[in-house]
Structure formats: C-alpha cells, structure tokens
C-alpha cells in the first residue's frame, strides 16, 4: 500500500517550484454527442500538472468543463483527444493511488459510515488491521466518532460530507481529486473540510479541487487553473491573476477571468 510521502513545509501561493508531476493533463478534450443539441465540446485542449504537496484549484462557472476534466483524470471518462496520467500511469491503472470525491457525492444511505469505509478500504486492498487503524484515525480526525454506526440516511448534509471525505481518504491515497468538496455545506462545516484538505497537502498529497468560489480557491490553492467553456483561460497564483487582470477584489478577478460582466 502506498504510504503518504514525507511532510513538506507549508507553502505560500508563490512557491511553485515542483519537479514531480503526479497529476498530469496534456491537451485533454472531450466531446459529448447529444441527440437534440448535436456535438458539445465539454473540454477542449486542457493541460496542467499537480505536484506532491500542492493544491491546484480548477476554477470556473457551472458547465465550464471542470467535472468532465476531473472524471477523465479519475478514469471514469475516456478523453477523445489528449492524455492524462496519475503518477505516470493511465488513470484506470492508478485507482489505488487516487481518492476521488465527486460533486454531489452520493453515499449508500442504507449503510453506516463504518460500513462504507470498510467496503472502500477493502476494495483498495487494505489489510484488516491497517483498515481498522485508518477507520479509527479518520473517525477521530474528521469528527465522525459520534455517528460511525448510524445509517447515513439519518445524517445531516454536513455529516454526510465528512463521511464522503473520509471515504475518499480511507486508503490514504497520495492523489486527491475533489469536485466541489464544500458544496452545500454551511460555513463552519466548509471550513472544517478546507482545513482538512490543507492538512492533506502538508502530508505531501497532490490535490486537485474544483470550485466556483473565488474565496475558497484563494484560501486553499497554491495555483488556480481557470476554465471557461472547456478551455483554460488563465493559470497562476492568486497574486499572478490579480496582476493579470489588474483587479484587486476577488469577485472582479473571477468575472474578468470567466468573461462575465459587472
């Protein structure tokens, strides 16, 4: 089983000197065929990398192609053009290295958090003893101890999101792809998830998160990749994006990057 890499020092947004590409997208494209709308180019030539101990945020409005890009990186969709890799392998052969948190992440409502973690830990090939340790750790760390044996159907949205996050971390993967990890959460729960993601970065994990909230991107990300209508419209740190747009306020920067008007 993959062990988490050595702890890296926390980095500032400007520190982007990486030499190891854990998540890599090269000219990714995806076209969907729709009976009524014809061909829809959801992703068009997207390229970026994410290194260990780095958080990269995919930023863009709804329908920009963030989820499709993440699904290709998770090996759920095959790109029509371009390539992607996780730790140098095709995504479908690197699943044990990946913790994937989809948007609208569903959970098995008839199962308990403990059962869900056990199932996904076993599917990832964890030995029973190690799995037990991971479940205890996550239950404590993510704050699930009080409802580990309650059926998920009875949990609140915040509790469920904690379970979803723990589920994608149960096998301690070095790569995390999280599609809108704070979606639908209140401020307190969202901050708890964000803090946890930052902690994962400090543990050396390569993390790709998607969001359409500029404040979240600023709080979490070392770098931001802005996607608009399937293409990368800008890439850089928040200070770089500020310089690029000549704007100071986050909302103004976002609107300038995604082509919106005030």
């Amino acid at each position: 089983m993959f062990q988490a890499g050595p702890r890296l020092p926390a980095r500032g947004p400007g520190d982007i000197h990486y030499n190891f590409r854990v998540i890599e997208a090269r000219g990714l494209s995806k076209v969907f065929k729709d009976r009524h709308r014809g061909e829809l180019r959801a992703v068009d030539g997207v390229s970026f990398v994410v290194s260990p101990g780095e958080i990269v945020a995919l930023l863009g409005p709804n329908g920009a192609g963030k989820t499709t890009t993440m699904r290709m990186l998770a090996g759920l969709l095959a790109p029509d053009d371009g390539e992607c890799s996780l730790a140098g392998r095709p995504p479908e052969r690197a699943r044990e290295l990946l913790g994937f948190l989809p948007a609208d992440s569903g959970l098995y409502h008839r199962l308990t958090p403990r059962e869900v973690l056990r199932i996904f830990g076993r599917l990832s090939g964890l030995a029973e003893q190690e799995l037990g340790r991971r479940i205890d750790y996550l239950s404590e760390r993510v704050g699930m101890a009080g409802f580990m044996d309650t059926r998920i159907a009875k949990l609140s949205t915040g509790m469920r999101q904690r379970v979803a996050v723990a589920r994608c971390l149960v096998h301690d993967p070095p790569i995390l792809i999280m599609d809108e990890p704070t979606k639908g959460l209140d401020v307190e729960s969202a901050r708890a998830v964000e803090d946890f993601i930052l902690e994962m970065r400090e543990n050396g994990k390569a993390i790709l998160v998607s969001t359409h909230i500029m404040e979240e991107a600023e709080f979490l990300a070392d770098r931001v990749v802005v996607i608009t209508r399937g293409r990368i419209s800008a890439e850089g740190t928040i200070p770089e994006l500020k310089r690029m747009t000549g704007k100071e306020k986050l909302r103004e920067i976002y609107l300038a990057l995604v082509g919106g008007k005030r």
Binding site: R71, A74, G75, L76, L77, A78, R95, E96, L98, F100, P102, D104, S105, G106, L107, Y108, H109, R110, L111, E115, I119, F120, R122, L123, S124, G125, A164, R167, C168
Partner: protein, 388 residues
Amino acid sequence: MRFRVLLLKEVKEILRDRRAIISTILVPLIAIPLIFFAVSYFTASAVSKIERAPHTVALRPGLPLPGLDSLLSSAGLSPFPSDSPKKAVQYKEADIGIWWEKLDDGTFAITIYHDASDEASGYSLAKATEALDSLRELTLRNNMEALGAPAWVWRPLSVREENVAPPQRMAGYIMGILLGYLLVLLVFTGGMYPAMDLVAGERERHTIEILLSAPVSRRVIVASKITAVALSSLVTGLLNLASYGLCFAFLGTVSPEFASLTSQMPLSLTGFLALVISIVPLALLAASVEVALASYAKSYREAQTYLTPLSLIVIFPAMASMMPGAQLSPLGALVPVYSTAMTIKGALMGTLEAWPFIVSLAANSVYAAVATLLAAKAFGREGILKAD
C-alpha cells in the same frame, strides 16, 4: 476478494431495502400462500353455501309422467306448482322453472328456465337436468318393460369412465402446472426490484461514481450486481417452493383427500435437485437481463418502465407450459423460460427425461452467459454516469 466485498455490500443493501424485501421474501412467503388459501377458502365456502341453500323449482303441475317430484326432491331441489315458471325465475321467486307440453306424437317437450347470471340457478339447472335424465330413463324402462322388451333393446350399452393416470401422476400434474408457471414468474419478479435498486438506484443516488472510481474493474462490479440479483431471484423461487410445501402440508392435515394426493407426489430427490438446478441458469438469465435493462435507466422510476414489460413477456412462454398436452421436446428445450417451466412440471410429474433436461440446462446457461456479457457492455458505457 473484491468480488466478495462488493457482493456482500450488494446483499446488505438488498436486505435493508424495504421494497426488495417485499418482492423477494414477503411475496413468495406470505402473499402467494395467502392468495392460495383465500381463493381456496372463498371458493369452498361459496360452493358449500350454494349447496346448503334451499333451491326452488317452479314446476308446471300435472305432468303425467310419475316420479319427477321425488327425483327433484332427492336431488336437493324443492319443487312447487306454478302456472308461469318462466316469470317465477325472472322475478327471482324460483331458482329455475320447468315447463312441459305434450306434443302431437305423444311425447313431452320440457323447457328449463334458468338465470345464467345466478350461481344458485346454475347449480339447480345441473341438478334438474340430472333428475330429468333419470326420469327419461325411468319412463323408457317402464314403457319397455310394459311392452315386454328385454333390457338389451332399451339399454344396448352402458358407459363407465375410469382415469388410468396413477394418483402420483395426477398429483404431480396438478402441482406441476401451477408451480412451473408461478415459479418461473417469481424467479423473474423476485430479482426485479433489487436490479432496479442496485443499478438505476445507484445512478439516481449518485453513488455510481465513487464505485466506478474504486480500484475494481467494471466487470467485477457488474458480476457482483448480477450475482446479488440472481441470489434474490433464487431465494424468491425457493421460498415460494417452501411456502407451497407448507401450504400442501397444512391442507393435508385438514383434508384427507388432499393428504392422499400429496402423499403420492412422485417428486424424488433427483427430481427435486433437477428442479432446483434448472432454476439456477434461469435466475442468472433473469438477473443479467434485468441488470442490463436497468443500466439504461437514469432513475428507479425509469427502470420500472423498462422492467415491467419484461414480466409480461415472460408470462407467454410460462403459460405455454400450462397448455394441455405440452411436452418438453428437444426443440422446446431451447426456448428460455418455457423449458424451465416444463422441467419443473416434468420433475413434479415424475416424467422428466434426461436429454431434454440437459439441452434445456445448457441452452439456458448459454443465454445467461450472453445476457451477462450484454449487461457488462451496458454497464460499461460512459452514459452510466448520467443521472436524473
């Protein structure tokens, strides 16, 4: 290992799904025997009520043939004189009416008025017809004896019916017709709700993505789902079989005739094993088809639309097994559903032959394998990620 983990997960989900529990366990275990008992009870009580009730006959008086009154009375009917038997029946004053008139040739034409929409009238009609047949025979005999004719003149032949089927085969035939049909239907319906839940439900609840991103191949995922659905179908079938066994055992304690019928069932251990073995490929076939169809549905409700016609399609080959004279030929053994229903019937009647059984088993196994491949293909589509 991963297959086992997923199979246990699927089984756990089925066992915690109220809809699946109802269709897989409660329907065969409780509903079917309940329907069986309710129909038997209400039919028996309705027949008994009709038989016990007084049945009246409005009879035109003065028939010069002696004996009709006593024949009607001994058949359980109560005749009373009436000048208008037809009206008596129309106004519900009598269950049936008998009118007679003497024809020019000296014979009597008799008309029985009855109400076909009334069960008591139908019962009385049958009894009165028997009584009038007896009267005709009695009158003929009296006339012939008066003329001095020997019996061979007026009764040249007598007819007797005898059923040559051994009681074992009769018992098997009755059970086989019923069970062969119901068992194959329940094997299909038993897996329907689990298939909808484990495939379309998984899409609807947005859990399909986390499952597909886990380090396990789609083939293993679909195999675990098909196996879980097939297990549900098998459990439904076997519980149905067990509940019938219990029903018959219970009926045997309250009805000596039924006890003698069931005690002579020709179902041997080999026949029982053949019966169970024949259900296995059918359950796999049903599960694969159901999983494949459910893979195209984005929601539970859409899956219901796709799967409901399946239960109607299955009815036709299942019903064909109930046709009089139906026998499992080598060609018929290639027809899915029908061949299994016929195998069950043959096993219960003790007439199952080895070759048609083997052909049927092999054919159904091939169909199940093809359906499994189709299900894997349907599940492997990128469209599986879409949900309502």
